[in-house]
Every structure is written in structure tokens, then in C-alpha cells.
């Protein structure tokens, strides 16, 4: 937590970071809302935002299906149609190897958004998120695609002071990585 507090203080001290600082709590809230309901997945992310961000992060992604569960009938099974839309939230921390200034700086990542269950084994979830990297101060929309339930690929267009920057990220379940390589 001291690392996060430090990063926020740095962000608030920069005029260009104020927009991101205002959006961050909303994104974080979205992540916190999503996290408890459907379990959390520890993640390793490698992120790139043109001229702004390059670095590895570790974090937690959570999801919660949108909609309510049916009640138990008087007799027989509860029959429940899968809820195909879900909220997603993620918070991660890492290092930015490509900051504006020459120093390596702490990197925070937050996203909130929605995913859709495709029913496919390979391309299992697709959706969109609002993503932010702090204190780099880039915020914007990104498409997110999940492959085989363990690997997410994200691409978007993040903004900083009105300028757009291409964004790509690979976000992988650390438990999947551990199964393969530990």
C-alpha cells in the first residue's frame, strides 16, 4: 500500500496526471466491485503504451456476472441460464521502463469494463474496458479478448492531454504460467 500511496501522490503533483487521478478511483471501485463475486485471478501483465509505458505488472483481476440467480423451486433442480455479460475489474502494480523522465518509476494499472461470454473454448470472452496507467497518466478504451480461459490480449487507444497512444498488453493468469513453468 505505501507504494500505491506514493504513486498517487506523484500523480496528483503533476498537472497532466489530474485527469487520470480523477478517473482512477472510479476504475478502482469498479475493480473492487467485480473482484469479490466471482473469484480473483492473479495476473502477470506485460504492457506497452506508445512513448509512455513499457513494463511488467502483477495484479488481481476479478469478475462478477451481471444479473440475478433464480430462486430454488419447490421441487427439482434450479435451472439457470448462464449470465453472459459480466463486469471485470483489475488492479496491478509494476515498473515502467519507459517513463517520460529518465527514471524507472512505479506503474499502476487499473481497468473496469464488461466482458461477454462467447461460448467458444478458444476465444472464451470478448469485451471492452477503460484502462489507465498511472502515474504515466494515460487513460482510454481498450478491447479485451480472452483465449482459452487463461490469457487475455488487450489493445486500445489511450489518451494523455488530448494525444492518443496505441496500447497493447498481454495479461496472463500466473497460475497458468506456474502450471507450465514452475
Amino acid at each position: 500500500m505505501p507504494v500505491i500511496a506514493h504513486a498517487f501522490r506523484r500523480l496528483e503533483s503533476r498537472p497532466r496526471g489530474r485527469l487520470a487521478a480523477r478517473l482512477a478511483p472510479a476504475l478502482l471501485l469498479s475493480g473492487l466491485l467485480a473482484a469479490p463475486a466471482a473469484g480473483q485471478s492473479p495476473r502477470l501483465q506485460v504492457a506497452w503504451v506508445d512513448d509512455q509505458v513499457l513494463g511488467p505488472l502483477v495484479g488481481i483481476e476479478g469478475r462478477t456476472p451481471i444479473g440475478s440467480e433464480p430462486e430454488q423451486p419447490a421441487s427439482g433442480p434450479i435451472v439457470m441460464q448462464t449470465r453472459d455479460w459480466m463486469l471485470t475489474g483489475e488492479a496491478a502494480v509494476g515498473v515502467n521502463l519507459n517513463p517520460d523522465d529518465a527514471d524507472v518509476e512505479v506503474l499502476l494499472y487499473l481497468h473496469g469494463g464488461v466482458l461477454y461470454r462467447t461460448g467458444s473454448d478458444m476465444l472464451s470472452r470478448v469485451g471492452g474496458v477503460v484502462a489507465a496507467y498511472l502515474p504515466a497518466g494515460v487513460v482510454g478504451p481498450a478491447a479485451r479478448v480472452e483465449l482459452a480461459g487463461a490469457v487475455d490480449v488487450q489493445a486500445g487507444w489511450l489518451f494523455k492531454r488530448g494525444h492518443g497512444h496505441l496500447h497493447l498488453a498481454l495479461d496472463v493468469s500466473t497460475r497458468f504460467l506456474c502450471d507450465l513453468f514452475c
Binding site: A38, G39, S41, P65, T82, G119, G149, R175, D179, L180
Partner: protein, 354 residues
């Protein structure tokens, strides 16, 4: 102290290691092809002996956990990929998924007793074979109250309580998981694993050429179900163990007791095999000749509901729409969310200690 939550995983979801701690089987690595030429440093020619087991009639414990001279194979860690979103609130319980399920059920019972929360009870989440092990543990407890004293809530996800033709498939034709050129070795080792036999269907899965149910003595849980060369390597003792376990599983929740909450989650989306046709002394040459019903790709939903009866059905959550296939059912957001919600339900008071 609060309740504790334990995850009992399914077949293949525990890594197996040799006596030096070297992992000899990791299902995730196998499934992505990283272990195709090497199981714990052994070449393919040694795989069948490495992973085969030996059992003596009348003993639930194995006499050998590997037929490779000087090697013992045991459970190691639980793979995380199929349980990624459940491991944030449940601790995994690894076990050797090849062995007699009653042996593992007793081990689970001992574990629950020795590590019981000082206040509160266990929550048990099970996937696939893990669900059968939990039901067997409840049946093998000395008294109904003994199990209910330990366990407050049970969630069985994709548990093939009535059996699955996927187990038959592995024994009859061999799995292709280790590679198409290793099917014979896979079949050979599978024919030494009691757990696979014990998960064969308890319904009449063998039909005659006219589509009628074949007589009992031609069903797969009987020696007569394996005619001629089809029966090479099939062990009568393991078929007997199968019938014994299937008898124990009837009324799967009857020993949970009134102070426990139980739920069984079944998926109903993917085609799941249910029957095959025997023509004289011939069984089908390949797995594509099985008839299927909707299920989770391994557990046929309606067949399992029919087998379980009303009491079981009253505990079932039947997921339609687009649930994940069997192997990844515990990763399904609806399964995770409903399970977490279920584990928050208030249980009746635990029975007094014996």
C-alpha cells in the same frame, strides 16, 4: 476460527511426482504439448510402466504406485489453471487420482479430522472425481453425524456420480492426451487404475445391435462386458471394486445429514457420451460411435439427474446456456459466483460431537 474451505480437484488435476519430488505428470503441460517427449525425465517407452499401478484384491491401498522398478509415484500439487478463480478462497487438497476412490475418501476423512477448524466446519468444493470422493467419505464415516460434525457445506461441480463414458473411453480405446502414438500405452496404464473403472457408467451403457439395453452380464462393469481381446489387461478385481463403489454411491447425499447444506452443479451444453453398441462379441472400434446427450462434455446431465432421483435433484443447479466444458467448469464465472454465494448461506447447527 471461521469455517475453512477445501477444494478437492478432479481426475488429472493433481500433479504426480516420483519419490525424488520430480513431477512425472502435469496435465496442463501435457495438454499444451510441453510434456510430449518427456515425463519426469523418462522417454515414452517407459511411460506405461511409470504410471501404471498394482492393487491386491481386498486392499484399497495400492501395492505399487508405479511399475517402474524402484519408483514410487505420489500426489504432488494441484494444477491452478482449472481452478484459478476458486483458489482465491479455497485451499487445494491434492490426491493420487488413479487409486481406489475409497482409499482417497478415507485419506480425505482423516485430513478433515486432523485439520478441522477449531470453531466452525469445513466447506468442501469438489470438481469431477473429487465429488465422488467426498460422497464416499460421507458414506465411510462411522456415523452420519461424524461427517456433518466436520463439514457444513458441500458443492459438487460436475461430479460424475452416476459415472461417465469418458472413463470407459480411456479404458476401452485409450486416451490421446499423451500423443496419438501413445494410445496403446495410455490404455495399458488406464487399465491398472481403479478410479477410472469406478467412474464407469452405473446405467446400462451397452446396447445390443437393435438398440436395446444389453443384459447385465454384458455391461462394462462385469467381466462379460469385455469379450475376447477387448478384455486384455482388464482386471476382474477392479471391476468388482467398481460395483462396490457404485453400490456405495446410491443416495449420494443420504449421509450428509440435516445440518449440512449441499449443492451439485451440472452443466448442460456440450454433447456427452452415454451409450455404445455391442454387436455379438464386438465393441465399437472407436469413440466416435458412441451416442451422446447434453451435459458438460463428460457428465450427461439428464442421465445423472435420472439416476440421482428427487432428493438429489433438489440439490442440483443445472446450468444451461453457455457454461464451460467439464475440465474448466470451476473457472466458469457463474459457477464461481453461485458457489461463493452458497458458501455464505447459514447452516443449521452442527450435531454435537460423538
Amino acid at each position: 476460527m471461521a469455517d475453512r474451505t477445501l477444494l478437492v480437484p478432479g481426475t488429472q488435476a493433481t500433479n504426480l511426482a516420483d519419490q525424488n519430488g520430480k513431477i512425472v505428470y502435469n496435465a496442463v503441460r501435457v495438454s499444451v504439448g510441453l510434456q510430449k517427449d518427456d515425463l519426469g525425465g523418462r522417454p515414452p517407452s517407459e511411460w506405461q510402466a511409470l504410471l501404471s499401478t498394482e492393487h491386491r484384491p481386498g486392499l484399497w491401498a495400492p501395492t505399487k504406485t508405479s511399475l517402474e522398478p524402484g519408483t514410487e509415484v505420489t500426489e504432488h500439487s494441484v494444477v491452478g489453471t482449472p481452478y484459478d478463480r476458486m483458489l482465491s478462497f479455497a485451499e487445494p487438497w491434492p490426491y493420487d487420482w488413479r487409486l481406489d476412490m475409497r482409499y482417497n475418501a478415507l485419506k480425505l476423512l482423516r485430513y478433515l479430522e486432523r485439520n478441522a477448524p477449531q470453531e466452525g466446519r469445513w466447506n468442501l468444493i469438489a470438481h469431477s472425481q473429487g465429488g465422488i470422493i467426498i460422497v464416499l467419505a460421507s458414506k465411510l464415516a462411522s456415523r452420519v453425524d461424524d461427517f456433518a460434525h466436520l463439514v457444513g457445506r458441500v458443492v459438487l461441480v460436475g461430479a460424475p456420480l452416476a459415472g461417465t463414458m469418458r472413463a470407459t473411453e480411456a479404458i476401452l480405446w485409450g486416451s490421446t492426451g499423451l500423443g496419438a502414438d501413445q494410445v496403446d500405452a495410455a490404455r495399458g496404464m488406464a487399465r491398472t487404475w481403479p478410479a477410472l473403472y469406478q467412474m464407469m457408467p452405473s446405467w446400462r451403457a451397452v446396447l445390443d445391435k437393435d438398440g436395446n439395453e444389453a443384459p447385465d452380464d454384458q455391461q462394462l462393469v462385469q467381466p462379460g462386458g469385455w469379450p475376447g481381446a477387448w478384455g486384455t489387461g482388464i482386471q476382474d478385481d477392479l471391476l468388482l471394486r467398481t460395483r462396490e463403489v457404485q453400490a456405495l454411491l446410491h443416495g449420494p447425499m443420504s449421509n450428509f445429514g440435516p445440518s449440512m447444506l449441499a449443492r451439485a452443479v451440472l452443466g448442460k451444453k456440450q454433447m456427452s457420451p452415454v451409450t455404445l453398441v455391442r454387436n455379438g462379441n464386438d465393441l465399437p472400434a472407436d469413440r466416435n460411435q458412441m451416442a451422446s446427450q447434453l451435459g458438460d462434455s463428460l457428465v450427461p446431465a439428464q442421465r445423472t439427474l435420472d439416476w440421482g432421483g428427487t432428493m438429489y435433484a433438489n440439490h442440483v443447479l443445472l446450468l444451461t446456456g453457455k457454461p464451460e466444458r467439464h475440465a474448466m467448469l470451476c473457472q466458469d464465472e457463474d459457477v464461481v459466483a453461485t458457489t461463493k454465494k452458497f458458501l455464505k448461506q447459514k447452516t443449521p447447527p452442527a450435531p454435537a460431537s460423538a
